[in-house]
Each structure stands twice: as C-alpha cells, then as structure tokens.
C-alpha cells in the first residue's frame, strides 16, 4: 500500500467512523439526532449538486426543484398510494429524476451563465406549481398527512417513526448506498470523461467525445441523486413544503459545495455540516440569521473560494 492509498483509507475510516458513531458523540456538543439526519440528507443534496458542478464543471442553480419534487412525490405516494417507506423513496427518486432527465434535454446545449439562468428559472416552475395547486400539494401550508412507516422484515419490525436513532441509521445506510454509487461512477471511464469535459471542453470534443450526451447523462444522474435526497428529507420531516423547491435552497446547496470544496469528493458533506449546524444555531439565537448567512456567503466567495478541503489540499501541496 502506497502512502497515498493509506491516507485515503484513513480519511474514509475517519468519515465513516464519525458518521456511524454520530448519535453517541453529537449530544456531547449540544447536537440532536434529527440534526444529524438533516446534515446527512442535505449533505447528499450538496454532493449531488457537486457531482455536476465539481466534476463536470456545469453550474445548476435550480437543483432544489428535483430535491423538492422527490420530497413531494415521496409524500404523495405515502399518503395516497401505499404506506411503505421504501416505496415512497422509490417514487420520489423516480419522479424527481425523470423530470430532471426530460428538462435536462432542453438545457444541455446551454453553457456557463446561460445554463445557470435557465436552471434557476425552470426550477421555479415547480415552486409555483406546488404553491398554486393547493388541492393536491397543500399550497403554502405544505403537504401533511403522511408519516414514515416502519420497516418490516418479517422477523423484525424496525420502528423508524418514533425512534430517531433508528431513523438516523436508515438515513445513513441510504446515504452510504447513494454515495457508493456516486464514487463508482466517478471512478469509471464515464466519470473520467466528465472530469475531462470540466478541464477542457473543446479538447474533449476534439477527441470525439459527445459532450452534450455526457452532460445530459451527468445532469440526469445528479437529478436522481438529488430526488433521492429530497425523498429522504420528506421522510425526515414527515412534511414537504414549497420552500424545498425554491431557488434559495438551490443556492444553499451550491454554497455548501463551495464552502466544503468543490474538487473534493467529501467537500460538500463537510460544507453541509458547517452550514446546517450554523443555520440551526443562528436561527435559534438571533432573528437576523439571514444577514449572518449572507455575510458568511460573501466572505467565503471572497476569501475561501476553494473551500475548506481545497485549502487543506493546497497547503499540503505547497
């Protein structure tokens, strides 16, 4: 084993060790288990955004749409179709992912600023639909009337609803599965091609790579991951509301990715930890938490554009 591999293994062990033991060490620092689940879910969302932003170099500023769509579809499936947690997850993932795939086909020819603008605007469509169609979605009050269901494995029945720690581990296992798939994709030839497109799109095109198709597939995958995270979020809150579709949540995901470090696989999770915990803390101590978050964003953009993990890596190389 080379030192490089050893280091990578050590990082992996540290990340997973911290996540697995979270219900035990978090209360020592004033955290609570539901906050841990929220960090994981939003972290998965930020990693999905970064799958596109950090590894393909395409900025989508409307990814909350797929997140919220996943949340609503999961809630509606639980409420009206079948009371089963895995079914809700599946429905949410498929609904958000499919919608993303279809709209992605419209978007892939756009680049840069234009792509960002079009994704913002399209993201808001779903916000307005959720807001207006109150007979189905509950409008501004949000979608209520569903709860996550116990997992039934014949021999044992796991009560996810009343035991936060059980649900945390359910979220952690779902998170691990999604992240593992993400890592496999990024290490595959397809993932390498994504990075090639990020580094030099024109050159990749000269090599005969169908750029639009690759960006479309990357966008689609990212939407599916996002919708999965959204479905988990609906299960976490037993609730879905239009703000889960709003562009300010998209912006939050992007800032988490940037804050943690876009070029690092675990960066967005790290950013999510900082952002979610800080937001939770600030909104409990001051009514002006929005200003603090805004100032934080401005400071990060001006002084830490590479994010925390990017900064560490830079120091190591220097």
């Amino acid at each position: 084993m080379t030192p490089e591999q050893g280091k990578r293994l050590a990082v992996l062990a540290a990340v997973w060790g911290a996540l697995i033991l979270a219900p035990y060490w978090m209360p020592l620092f004033g955290g609570y288990t539901a906050l841990g689940s929220r960090v994981l879910v939003l972290g998965l969302g930020a990693m999905s955004v970064n799958f596109l932003l950090g590894f393909t170099g395409v900025l989508s500023f409307g990814h909350a749409a797929w997140f919220g769509l996943g949340a609503y579809a999961c809630g509606l499936a639980l409420k009206f179709v079948a009371p089963s947690t895995p079914f809700g997850l599946l429905a949410g993932t498929l609904a958000g992912g499919t919608a993303g795939t279809l709209l992605g086909a419209l978007l892939v020819r756009r680049r840069g600023i234009y792509f960002a603008m079009v994704t913002i605007a399209f993201g808001q469509v779903f916000y307005y639909i959720a807001f207006q169609w109150s007979s189905l979605t509950g409008g501004d009050d949000g979608l209520r009337g569903f709860t996550r269901q116990p997992l039934d494995f014949r021999l044992i029945r796991i009560d996810l609803l009343h035991n936060d720690v059980y649900f945390y581990y359910f979220v952690l296992i779902s998170f691990a599965a999604a992240v593992a798939i993400m890592a496999v994709i990024l290490h595959s030839p397809f993932g390498r091609t994504m990075i090639a497109i990020r580094e030099n799109e024109r050159r990749a095109r000269f090599l005969g790579i169908p750029i639009e198709l690759h960006i479309w597939i990357a966008f689609t995958l990212s939407c599916f991951f996002m919708a999965f995270a959204g479905a988990l979020y609906a299960l976490l809150n037993n609730f879905a509301d239009p703000r889960m579709l709003h562009y300010s949540l998209s912006g939050d995901f992007v800032i988490m990715a940037v804050m943690g470090g876009m070029r690092a696989f675990w960066g967005p999770l790290f950013g999510a930890v900082v952002f979610v915990v800080l937001q939770d803390y600030l909104s409990s101590v001051t009514v002006n938490w929005m200003s603090f978050i805004g100032i934080l964003i401005v400071l990060i953009v001006l002084f830490f554009p590479r994010g925390v993990l990017g900064l560490l890596r830079q120091r190591r190389m220097a």
């Binding site: 600023i113 603008m117 605007a121 912006g251 200003s291 805004g294």
Partner: protein, 289 residues
C-alpha cells in the same frame, strides 16, 4: 368579454413594461460584466423603501428621482468593494456573492423599516381613473408605463449615440479589444452597474406606488426578469424589452381564460423558446452558449 380581454391585455402590457424595466437593468450588467445579479430584486426593494423615507421631505416627484440615484450610489459602492474582485473569475462566484447580498439586503430592510407592508403615497392627481368605462386604467398606471417608456427610450438613445454608450455596447461584444483601445474598463463597468441599479431602484419606487412595499417584494419580480432575458435573447437589450412585454401580455391573456396558470405560462413560453429558438428571439448565435 371583449372588455375583459382588453382589460387583461392592458394589464399585461403594464406589468410587462415593468418586467422589462427590471430585466433591462439585469441585462446591462449581465452583458458587460458577466454577472447574474441575484441582488437586483434587493436593490429594487432599497429603491422603494428609500422613496418611502424621502417622500415626506421631497414629495413624490423628488423621491422618484432621488431614491433611484441613491440606490445607484449604493450599487456603485457594492460593485467597487465586492463585485469588482470577481470579474474574470468563474461566474459561479459572482452569482453566489449576489445571492448572499440578497439575503443581507432583505434582512437589512426588515431591520430598518420593519417586516410589515408600507405604502408609498402617490399624488392624488395620479390615482383617479381616467374614464368611467375604462376604470382599470388609472392615471398612475399610465404614468408608470410612460415613465418606463421615457427612461428606456432615453437609455437606448444614450447607448446608441453617446461615446460612453457606444463603449458599453462595444464592451458587450468584445471587452478585451475595448480595453486594448485605451478605454478605462473598470470605470465603464462601474458606470454600467450604476445604470442597471438605477433602473432597479426606479422600478422599486414605481412598484411601491402601485403595490406598497414589503421586504420580500423583489423576490417575485426577479424570476420574470430572468425569463424576459432568456426569451428575448441574452446579449440583446431590445430583445430583453420585447421579452418583458411579451411575457407580460401572455400572462395577462392567460389570466382571462385560466387564471391559476397566469404565472406558469411565462415558463411555458421560456421552454418553447428554448426548444424552437434556443438563442432567444433576438439573441445572437454563440453568445453565452
């Protein structure tokens, strides 16, 4: 029925003119500096609230002129201190920065002026309906459209015939060459940013007189402005104007037949434009694509 259609089309045109005013400011900044100004709605709010504060001292007419100028000055300060550092970097960063600014501005207005809605008092001469039959065309609405028409007309004349206007248009096409010709690009961008923010501030005053003021009022007006730019074509100010008017009329017409979709129809228009003519109605091929 005919009157209903007429009512909604007029309404749509008025709203469209308003969207266009917002969108042209956004478009100016986007074209020359490559910055998507998420805080544009925030500057609109600042303009409106400044007018509210100034009206008791200067009257409505004074506030109408001074408030946008003050807003533009705030804009220049923000540009010099923050946004200028991000020119030439990935557009992601300026987008995020203005996104953070929008938070600060919204919270700041709430802190200073309170969370409750406030009115901007409009001279009584402007509030009366013009005729009994067309009760919906109040003097204020005509005044809004006229103001937008005059300001936008003036802007287009300035851009076409003055030296600075020509430089701004040239910079939109090729900033590097303009810089190489000895034009002070930094000052040009500051000025251009100020003009964009002035338009946002003016939109804020006008909207305040019609709808009243709220700290979140910029939020709902920002998206239609984005769509106006996309429909009209990125890079073309005339396109942005056209896009704003078009989506205004489209949502007005939809309101006659299917009121709950009046918001959604502008997104459908955007999708159609992207499908059929991806560069936008008057956009130039290859620009930002």
């Amino acid at each position: 029925m005919l009157q209903l259609v007429f009512f909604n089309v007029t309404n749509g045109l008025i709203i469209g003119a308003f969207y266009a005013l917002m969108a042209i400011g956004l478009s100016l900044i986007l074209n020359l500096s490559g910055v998507i100004n998420f805080a544009h709605g925030g500057f609109l709010v600042i303009g409106g609230y400044l007018a509210y504060t100034l009206t008791p001292y200067l009257g409505f007419w004074g506030a109408l002129i001074i408030a946008p100028i003050l807003t533009a000055l705030i804009g220049v300060v923000v540009e010099r201190l923050l946004i200028r550092r991000l020119y030439g970097r990935d557009p992601l960063y300026s987008l995020l920065l203005t996104f953070g600014l929008a938070f600060i501005i919204e919270d700041g207005t709430r802190q200073i002026w309170g969370a409750n809605g406030l009115p901007v008092s409009v001279p009584p001469a402007l509030t009366s309906p013009l005729s009994y039959e067309f009760f919906f065309i109040t003097g204020y609405r005509m005044f809004m459209v006229a103001t937008v028409a005059i300001v936008v007309g003036l802007l287009f004349v300035l851009l076409r015939y003055t030296r600075i206007g020509v430089r701004i248009r040239a910079g939109t096409l090729d900033l590097e060459t303009v810089a190489a010709l000895g034009v002070n690009v930094r000052a040009l961008r500051s000025l251009n940013f100020a003009v964009g923010i002035f338009l946002a501030g003016l939109a804020g005053v006008l909207a305040g007189g019609q709808l009243g003021l709220e700290p979140t009022m910029g939020d709902g007006l920002l998206m239609p402005s984005f769509i106006a730019i996309i429909v009209g074509g990125v890079g073309s100010l005339t396109g942005t104007l056209l896009g704003g008017l078009l989506i205004g009329v489209a949502s007005g017409l939809t309101a006659v037949f299917f009121p709950s979709a009046s918001e959604a129809v502008i997104y459908v228009m955007m999708a159609m434009v992207l499908l059929i003519r991806p560069r936008g109605l008057l956009g130039e091929e290859g620009m930002f694509t």
